[in-house]
């Protein structure tokens, strides 16, 4: 997959992007994925495949509810 340039084109309407602004520490997600190599974001990848994107799916492919249980 080609290296992404610029910011993710799917930020508008992305439930996860809004959540990443709630605390400074969470900005790391934006730097790595939203404004970094967004082609590695699993939300972006799934959207391109036409697959369902759960609201709680993290860019690295992990699901938030499973993180809450750990």
């Amino acid at each position: 997959m080609k290296e992404a340039a610029g910011s993710c084109t799917h930020m508008r309407g992305c439930e996860m992007y809004g959540l990443f602004g709630s605390q400074t520490l969470l900005e790391a997600w934006k730097e790595r994925f939203c404004h970094g190599d967004y082609t590695k974001c699993q939300r972006y990848v799934r959207t391109l495949r036409g697959e369902r994107v759960p609201a709680t799916l993290l860019p690295n492919g992990m699901d938030l509810p499973s993180m809450g249980k750990s």
Binding site: G18, Q23, L25, R32, G50, A55, N60, P65, M67
Partner: protein, 202 residues
Amino acid sequence: MSDPSFWPFWVGALCLGGLVALTWALERRLIAGSGSITRVTTALSDGDWGAADEKLLNDQDALQAALMAATLAEFGEQPDVAAPAAPTPPAQPSSWAPAYAHLVFLMMIGVGGLLSALQTGTFNADWSLGTSFNEIMGAGPVMIGYLVLGGLAVGFGTRMASGCTTGHGLCGVSRFQVGSFVATGAFFGTGIAVSYLIEFLT
């Protein structure tokens, strides 16, 4: 004079506009008919109706705890991040809702039609789509075959256009989205053209 067998057009306009405004005011999301069908069929397929996601998203403490745990797991104890130069913009509109909410939305479309038919006294269980339609498309299995093909074409088109008359026509146009103007023009333009074509053929 309006046809007494239907509710006046402005009742439908008020209901649809009110639904869009109310959904946005209460849930900060947009309605999407084809998206709802997709979500419900996917839930029927994978069994995930979104209840767990909804519970987490509505529990701010649990949500923040899960986010922090995920962040530390991905980036380590102290991710090297700079404070944002500007505050994050408010959440943008999305169509996310648990699948059962989409199911209720789709069921209410039928309930609305039923209420209208009952109120005007025109309710009648009938599979006919009209004499003009039958003259061109035939009846029985042939007609059903055409309807299935039409449904597949509509499904393909709405996926390709990322929306249908609800998402683009109601929500997109009201938000002045250029793509929605193009899509809605294509939907209704094609509908008007086909209507004239049927009129011409019959």
